[in-house]
């Protein structure tokens, strides 16, 4: 999995490309540290090129969301592919995030 982070107007955007499984979760978690730091503002996770997510991946998403909640920021999940939206729905994550 590759992670690209960009600073956009009023938001930090992370673009996740590829499979987010348990094996890569540690690395992805580190790569997304800038988002944790920016959690007081608006954080955007662009999932358009994500092909897979496991529970460890979900855990990362949840970690960012909790951080934002603590700091009073916003987390927006953008461009969810159907397969991953399915997992979000099954786990109740659709209710935890702002989905765009």
């Amino acid at each position: 999995m590759e992670v690209f982070i960009n600073e956009e107007a009023n938001a930090t955007v992370a673009r996740l490309v590829g499979r987010l499984d348990t094996a890569v979760s540690q690395d992805v978690s580190s790569a997304l540290q800038p988002l944790m730091d920016a959690a007081s503002g608006t954080v955007i996770l662009d999932c358009s090129q994500m092909s897979y997510i496991s529970s460890s991946g979900l855990r990362i998403f949840l970690g960012i969301r909790k951080e934002a909640a603590a700091k009073g920021g916003r987390v927006i999940v953008r461009n969810l592919p159907d397969t991953i939206r399915q997992v979000f729905m099954m786990t109740g994550f659709l209710n935890l995030f702002e989905i765009q």
Binding site: T22, Y52, S54, S55, L62, K66, M90, T91, G92
Partner: protein
């Protein structure tokens, strides 16, 4: 009942109609044949008769012509002498003498001068005739006779040619029928001077034609130019009847035609009817004398034999037809009886068929019986010797146990079938509460012994196979030992015990055998081993084993054994019910499926190998992306769990993943030797909680349960075995 009567009537009327037509057709055929035969026979006989008559006529005609020629020659040869003697009238008597004397056929002769030719004798006619053996000389120139007015004199003069007179009865020479041939004699000035004659008696002719008897009642007559019959006076009396007939025929139209034809000198034949009778007339002319000869034959003479034959044929035809009617009548009467009997038999057979259907519906008949199961291949068959039989088999699965049985009721037919029905019902009832075959058999025996008044018993074998582990418990009640097929084929060791229904409270021994994957059990009744061929040889256990030696499906074994028995038995009738049951315990997923195996170490970096496995399965089964991802996710969560928690940190451990790909399902068996952990008992994660309350973990196992159709956990031999199943 009413309807049946109606049906009977219809059938009867139909038979009567058939009989009627058979008789009609037979009669018409017979009649037509005999008509054709009669027609051709008649034609042939007519031709034969014509030929006979014509031959006879020709023969007679030639005879007559011979005589006539002799007479004509006698006269002609004397013409020159007569001419020469015209000057010496007294010598003319010498001429007549010579004619008579030299020609035996000539009875008399004269040279009659034309009146006024001789100055001396105005009328002169010396006449020589035979009297007895000698000759007499007379003169015809008498007042009474007046020869110049006689036909024999006037006609040749008139015609200036030889002339044959009408036959006449000669009163002078003994009442004989005669005819005269006369020729004119010319003098030197070529004037007719006299007439030279020769008389011929026709008695020989009368005799000759009287002798013609081509048929018993045939009559031959000679008719003169003027239509007179030629016959002597004495015969006239005898033939008066014929004369009457023929005389009255003269007026007949047909006869006139005939007369005309004969006078015209024609040869032929015709048919005339007179007074209800039919006559055939064959005729031929004698042109010189102007006579006609005809043979009259009554039709009866010609066709009589054919008519008589026809009568006989008709008689036999009538008799034959009467006999035919009698036979048909008897046949249809018997047919009616036979039909009634048949109907009764059919009704009985129909009932037996229904009974057979009921009986057959009591045993499971759909094969394969458990299409969803991949650990069992089972088939069974039952072939009753009669419509209904006393054999039974049964099987069903309850609580992952296969309950099965086979039995053979003593006796055959309907009584045995009733006991069979009871036995099967008892088996189902008792086994629904009991897992032990011994207890099932004991309960059945007690129950059957209590009500067994007809003293019928049942040899019975009951087995219970635990499909989880292949352990088979069984109990035998006097039945043939089943075969167990492992690497080779052997009889299953069985306690004989007593058959069911003999005595209440009998003890039965339960036995046990461990079936390994690929082992099979074959149950049968003695209808198989004791199947007899026409030489009274038995099919036997060796042949049975031999057939089963080859590897086949359960259904294949059923068919192969059946075929082997049929071939062995040949045309011999089946002596006993033949029942078989074959069960094959197979490794789950062995048939029609494929497998994948993967061993991982407890290293999280090996997780992507799972994605590779799923991708290959998805390709094989052409799964869509969403499903592939679900499977990947569930497998990853389950395996991650093991990798992360099963073994103590820093200790190397493995996790085995066995994937079984079936037609309609996928199964993943995840095995590890780590600390026991049953993920199925982990409480369900609450997915409704808000962000703050949501625990960071616990989603993995939740996802596994959510994504798979079944998750089963087992801890055996120090192994955690987690089985995930997904239906497709």
């Amino acid at each position: 009942m009413k309807r049946r009567k109606l049906k009977d009537n219809l059938a009867e009327r139909r038979s009567a109609r058939t009989a009627f037509w058979v008789v009609i057709v037979a009669a018409v055929t017979l009649e037509a044949t005999s008509l054709i035969q009669t027609y051709y026979a008649q034609k042939n006989i007519k031709e034969q008769a014509g030929l006979r008559a014509q031959t006879q006529l020709e023969y007679t005609r030639l005879n007559i012509l011979d005589i006539i020629d002799q007479a004509e020659s006698a006269v002609r040869n004397s013409i020159w002498i007569a001419q020469w003697c015209l000057q010496f009238q007294d010598s003319l008597s010498r001429v007549t003498y010579r004619v008579v004397n030299d020609n035996p056929v000539v009875m008399g002769s004269t040279v009659a001068l034309m009146p006024g030719f001789s100055k001396r004798y105005p009328l002169f006619a010396p006449y020589t005739c035979r009297v007895g053996d000698s000759l007499a000389l007379r003169s015809l120139a008498t007042e009474e006779y007046d020869y110049p007015s006689q036909e024999w004199f006037t006609e040749p003069v008139k015609q200036d040619a030889g002339y044959w007179s009408e036959p006449y009865i000669d009163t002078g020479g003994g009442d004989v029928l005669m005819t005269t041939y006369s020729v004119p004699i010319k003098d030197r000035q070529d004037r007719t001077a006299a007439v030279l004659t020769a008389d011929i008696a026709l008695d020989w002719l009368i005799d000759m034609i009287g002798d013609i008897k081509i048929y018993p009642h045939a009559t031959t007559v000679m008719i003169s130019r003027s239509g007179q019959f030629m016959m002597s006076r004495d015969r006239e009396m005898m033939r008066s009847t014929l004369i009457d007939i023929v005389n009255s025929m003269r007026d007949h139209r047909d006869f006139q035609k005939l007369d005309h034809a004969m006078k015209a000198g024609q040869t032929g034949s015709t048919t005339i009817k007179y007074d209800g009778d039919e006559y055939h007339v064959f005729y031929a002319p004698i042109v010189k004398t102007g006579w006609a000869m005809c043979i009259i034959v009554p039709s009866e003479d010609i066709y009589g034999s054919i008519r008589r034959m026809g009568l006989w044929v008709l008689l036999f035809q009538v008799l034959g037809l009467a006999l035919l009617i009698l036979i048909l009548n008897t046949y249809f009467k018997n047919q009616k009886k036979f039909n009634a009997l048949n109907e009764k038999k059919e009704r009985l057979q129909g009932e037996l068929r229904i009974a057979s259907n009921i009986q057959m519906s009591m045993v499971p008949k759909t094969f394969p019986p458990f299409p969803d199961r991949h650990d069992l291949d089972l088939s069974a068959s039952i072939v009753p010797a009669k419509e209904v039989g006393g054999d039974l088999y049964d099987f069903y699965i309850r609580d992952e146990r296969l309950f099965f049985c086979i039995g053979d009721v003593s006796g055959k037919g309907v009584p045995a079938s009733l006991v069979m029905a009871i036995t099967r019902t008892l088996f189902r009832n008792v086994s629904s509460l009991q897992n032990s075959p011994m207890k099932i058999v004991t309960a059945m025996n007690d129950s059957m012994s209590e009500m067994n008044e007809s003293n019928m018993f049942v040899t019975f074998f009951c087995g219970v196979l635990d499909l989880h582990n292949g352990k088979m418990h069984y109990c035998n009640a006097g039945h043939n030992a089943p075969l167990i097929l492992t690497d080779d084929i052997q009889f299953l060791p069985v306690e004989p015990n007593l058959p069911l229904g003999i005595m209440k409270g009998m003890p039965f021994v339960e036995q046990e055998v461990q079936l390994n994957y690929d082992d099979a059990i074959f149950l049968y009744t003695d209808g198989l081993t004791e199947a007899e061929n026409i030489n009274h040889e038995l099919f036997g256990e060796e042949r049975m084993k031999e057939v089963l030696h080859e590897r086949r499906s359960a259904q294949g074994h059923m068919e192969a054994v059946q075929a082997a028995v049929s071939e062995f038995v040949g045309d011999a009738p089946q002596s006993d019910d033949l029942t078989m049951l074959f069960l094959h315990y197979i490794r789950p997923g062995e048939e029609g499926s494929s497998e994948r195996h993967l061993t991982l170490h407890n290293d999280i970096n090996q997780i992507p190998q799972l994605a590779t496995l799923i991708e290959s399965i998805a390709r094989e089964k052409q799964l869509d992306q969403a499903l592939a991802m679900s499977l990947n996710l569930a497998l990853e969560e389950a395996v991650t769990n093991v990798i992360l928690y099963a073994y103590p940190p820093k200790i190397d451990g493995t996790v085995d993943i066995d994937a079984t790909i079936r037609k309609d399902s996928l199964q993943f068996v995840i095995t590890d030797k780590g600390s026991p952990f049953d993920p199925t008992v982990v409480p369900e994660a609450d997915t409704t909680l808000g962000v703050e309350d949501r625990p960071i973990g616990g989603l993995g196992i939740y996802l596994v349960r959510k994504l798979m159709d079944s998750v089963e956990y087992e801890y055996t031999d120090g192994k955690n075995i987690l089985t995930l199943t997904k239906k497709l």
